[in-house]
């Protein structure tokens, strides 16, 4: 063990303690308020965007209903409606009708080919056209496929583009139903300025109040800073839990009224040319109470019932509200106050538990800035690029990701439940993969240690000729980049005439098709590659530790008549332990997460996928971001508890911490 450093205590709790406590508290309070402001603004923006989406859908539907009334023809009524919209709602860029199911001269079906504009347009819409025709094609395929039972999500009927800075562009689609079939798609494009959100002054006032409470309390009772802080935090929590739900309810109520007014306006444009039943005038007052939010209105009863049924069953009402847009989905359909309740609890907890350490840190920095100057850059870099992504990743594991619409839904522990209790049909089985991973890790670490230790013992023999030569060659695998090792071993095994098969062939063994569906023929190449790559590390660690064992010990033991085996058991192994255990822990973690070998040698074939590659596959191939994150969180928990338990048992890291 190295020379111990003087235990110079740089930070002395004492006279300035209370002012630093308040300072730490205020810092966290400011941070929490800022986060809260962002959350409230996001909520407001969500409402505003929802209003735009709802209105755009309304426009698309109005045109669709008018066409249905005219049996799919582009009647003068439609033109009249278009003109009315053009005069009254200039931010509606375009109304389009996309024809479906036409055939060309060769009888080949063409879809979404004719795009017919209802009224003139202003502004840059060209860039939207390809977007629109792509989506229209997609929808056309969905609607025409009569056998499909897949529900069409509302998120597929609405497109949001934020490509243009400061503007929100929304396209919405509605099917035009004529004689029991979708004859065309009606589309509306709206371009509005990005919603502006107001600063929640109430929140800042409350935070200011809490800050004054903490400061005032500490000035009045200098020795009771902690009490002042707790009182301040609790007051803030109480005030927030009264004020915030009120505020949220009010905003949602306001939003619903505005949304209804928008729809009434559209109804009035339609009424001016053709009285069709368009939308239910006032939606539910409490969108979170049930199926109210963004419900598709009933299709006019003049249509055949079969058409209504088929379409309604296809456009799923249940998930309609959920998938529309990430921010809106959670806030309008769930009970909004729940989100903020959690937020209030979290904030209070943060204020009470984090501000202590933060204040101590502040005091430390104040009193010995140099010390923190040494660690600061590394710690900050680590927090921004490792801890922050890590925490975000944990957060992500509670969401489900939808590729269509690039949206995330909060599903709580849904991903974990799905992992822990995989469906029969699922191609990912956590428990099986865990078994493979454990087998993979133990067999590798065992081989690494066994081979490494044996070689170290041999190389450590006195009078061994060519020791340097052997050691130089034996650590070669460590120097080779491990992805190259992986690909190299793949090339050794692959093919009927590959090197390994030729070697076996010389013993009269039939060539083996290594990378087919068999587990063992995939597992063994992985194991060979990883053993080849991993033993030098253990060998070097053992060799270093062996050389640090004083030779006097062996001589004394020899004098006492200890046999070679006894000397190995009583001296070598116990003295190797302190060096070997951390190396084994480290090696276990590395092997458990050894992505490159599995991914590049067997490529996961034959069910040799380990947890980390499975998680990557879920992320990269299946785009199940939340699910992959949940997988990774489980991996992390397992490794953490493994390290914790081994540390507890062996106290291996004890020396290094002091």
């Amino acid at each position: 063990m190295g020379g111990q450093v003087s235990n110079k205590v740089i930070f002395l709790p004492g006279k300035r303690r209370s002012s630093f406590m308040v300072a730490g508290y205020l810092l966290i309070l400011g941070l929490a308020t800022w986060v809260g402001t962002n959350a409230i603004n996001r909520f407001q923006r969500g409402l505003a965007e929802d209003r735009v989406l709802y209105r755009t859908l309304g426009h698309a539907r109005a045109a669709a209903r008018i066409m249905e009334a005219g049996h799919g023809q582009r009647s003068p009524h439609l033109i009249g409606y278009g003109n009315a919209v053009g005069q009254n709602a200039p931010d509606v860029l375009r109304h389009l009708v996309v024809d479906m199911g036409t055939t060309d001269d060769f009888g080949v079906a063409r879809r979404a080919e004719t795009v017919w504009s209802l009224h003139g347009h202003t502004g840059a819409v060209e860039s939207l056209d390809s977007l629109v025709s792509d989506r229209a094609n997609h929808l056309a395929t969905l609607f025409e496929d009569k056998d499909s039972t897949r529900a069409i999500r509302l998120s597929e009927l609405v497109q949001v583009s934020v490509a243009e800075p400061n503007y929100l562009r929304v396209a919405a689609y509605a099917p035009v139903l004529v004689d029991d079939k979708v004859s065309a798609l009606s589309a509306a494009l709206v371009r509005v300025e990005s919603p502006v959100t107001e600063a929640p002054t109430g929140l800042w006032l409350l935070a200011l109040l809490a800050a004054l409470l903490a400061i005032g309390g500490t000035i009045a009772f200098p020795k009771r800073a902690l009490v002042a802080i707790v009182v301040s935090a609790c007051t803030l929590a109480a005030a927030l839990s009264i004020w915030l739900p009120e505020q949220v309810d009010e905003e949602v109520r306001q939003h619903l009224v505005e949304r209804a007014e928008d729809l009434l306006k559209i109804q009035s444009y339609a009424d001016s040319v053709e009285p069709v039943a368009l939308v239910s005038p006032i939606p539910d007052r409490e969108p979170w109470s049930g199926d109210g939010a963004l419900r598709l209105e009933r299709i006019p009863s003049s249509l055949p019932a079969s058409a209504i049924n088929s379409l309604e069953s296809r456009i799923g009402n249940d998930d309609a509200s959920v998938h529309l847009h990430p921010d809106i989905s959670t806030q309008i359909t769930g009970a909004p106050s729940v989100d903020f309740t959690l937020w209030i609890i979290a904030t209070t907890a943060l204020l009470l538990f984090i501000s202590g350490p933060v204040s101590k840190l502040l005091q430390g920095i104040y009193e010995a800035p140099g010390t923190y100057g040494y660690t600061g850059p590394a710690v900050i870099g680590l927090i921004v690029l490792v801890i922050f992504p890590f925490v975000t990743g944990i957060g992500l594991s509670f969401y489900r990701y939808h590729l269509e619409g690039n949206a995330y839904d909060f599903i709580g522990f849904g991903n974990f439940a799905e992992i822990m209790a995989p469906e029969e049909t699922s191609d990912i089985n956590f428990w099986r993969t865990l078994g493979v991973t454990v087998l993979w890790t133990t067999s590798n670490v065992f081989l690494h240690v066994a081979i490494g230790l044996a070689l170290a013992l041999i190389l450590n023999r006195p009078n061994l000729a060519g020791r340097k030569f052997y050691r130089t060659l034996l650590i070669l695998p460590w120097a080779v980049p491990n992805y190259i090792t992986a690909l190299m071993w793949r090339s050794m095994f692959i093919g009927r005439d590959g090197p390994i098969n030729s070697l076996f062939g010389s013993f009269g063994v039939e060539p083996i098709s290594w990378f087919d569906d068999n587990f063992w023929t995939n597992f063994i190449p992985n194991l060979v590659a990883n053993t080849w790559l991993g033993f030098p590390f253990m060998m070097v660690v053992c060799l270093g530790a062996l050389q640090s064992i004083p030779s006097g010990l062996y001589e004394a033991a020899e004098l006492d008549g200890a046999s070679k085996w006894q000397r190995l058991k009583m001296i070598t192994i116990p003295l190797l332990k302190p060096a070997l255990l951390p190396a084994v822990i480290l090696g276990t973690i590395w092997t458990f997460n050894m992505f490159n070998i599995i991914y590049l040698v067997s490529m996961g074939g034959g069910g040799t996928e380990i947890l980390i590659t499975e998680a990557y596959r879920a992320f990269h191939e299946q785009h199940r971001h939340g699910y992959a994150a949940a997988y990774a969180v489980l991996i992390f928990c397992m490794l953490l508890s493994y390290t914790f338990v081994t540390n507890r048992i062996t106290k291996a890291a004890e020396g290094a911490m002091e």
Binding site: Y374, A454, L476, A479, V480, S491, W565, N593, F636
Partner: protein, 290 residues
């Protein structure tokens, strides 16, 4: 073992001296043959996979090396040069940033007692257990926000922060073994902490720092998953991404793969062997304290 190596007797000693070679020679051969086969593949014509165990036959050619050096994209833009440059820049920058941050942090962890020290060190240890995949998605989003996708700066930042924890732990262990009396007497003579750090500690810790530098360099030089996830433009690829493409199962170019592997492995292997004696001492004194 006891039976095969008697304590005394000339015959026994000779036998005892000889038997290790019967173990070491085959194992060394096992270590060498795959590498030799790759070398042969790189020098043999054709892109098919290896077909025999004998590394010393067939005609040889440098075509694969020419092909790798002259690698271009579909429009004829030269790729190898820029990709080599990317790898070099990213690795050098990672080494510099990683070593700088790790030495300062490790010194403070070793020499000072301050609030948050234990937490800080545990933080560094725990980050070793973060599965890369968990970080991949948030990092992708984060780098996207910072406009650092398809950029060498983004890769450098990510690589140096992944390399730091290991380096800090290793250096801290090494610094612990340097007697504090050296510093104390220097401080008595009027030297500042910084002077002590730069003039005394850094030179004494040179072996450990060399290992840290090698580790940072290898982290950046050998990484491909983050590199191909964050970078889309072939001109921004690092060499490992290209090598992985050569071995793509759909269209495999084993010859080019072998040649490119040799080109890419050479620098790290040279550095590794140059620094290997420090690696052993650094490892035994540092991360794995003996």
């Amino acid at each position: 073992m006891t039976a095969s190596s008697p304590k005394n007797g000339a015959r026994g000693r000779r036998l005892g001296d000889a038997w290790p070679h019967f173990v070491l020679i085959p194992l060394t051969a096992l270590v060498l043959i795959p590498v030799l086969l790759v070398v042969r593949k790189a020098l043999a014509p054709g892109q098919g996979f290896l077909t025999s165990l004998n590394p010393f036959d067939q005609s040889w050619t440098l075509d694969h090396f020419y092909a790798v050096f002259g690698n271009t994209d579909d429009e004829g833009v030269w790729l190898f040069g820029p990709q080599l440059w990317n790898s070099l820049v990213v690795s050098a920058a990672t080494t510099f940033v990683g070593v700088f941050l790790a030495t300062t942090a490790a010194y403070a962890f070793s020499r000072f007692r301050f609030y948050g020290r234990r937490t800080g060190m545990n933080l560094f240890l725990v980050t070793q257990m973060f599965p890369g995949v968990l970080m991949l998605i948030p990092l992708f989003i984060l780098l996207g926000h910072l406009n650092l996708l398809d950029s060498l700066v983004g890769l450098t930042l990510v690589y140096s922060t992944t390399a730091i924890p290991f380096c800090v732990w290793m250096l801290k262990g090494y610094f612990d073994t340097i007697p504090k009396e050296l510093e104390e007497s220097a401080i008595m003579d009027g030297a500042s902490r910084l002077t002590v750090f730069v003039r005394i500690i850094l030179p004494l810790a040179a072996p450990a720092i060399a290992v840290t530098a090698l580790f940072s360099f290898m982290t950046a030089w050998n990484e491909f998953v983050l590199a191909f996830t964050f970078n889309n433009d072939p001109k921004m690829f690092t060499l490992p991404v290209t090598i992985q493409r050569y071995a793509d199962p759909k269209s495999t170019y084993w010859g080019s793969f072998a040649a490119a592997s040799i080109i890419v492995s050479m620098p790290v292997m040279a550095l590794f062997y140059k620094l290997q004696k420090y690696i052993v001492s650094g490892l035994t004194a540092g991360a794995v304290k003996g």
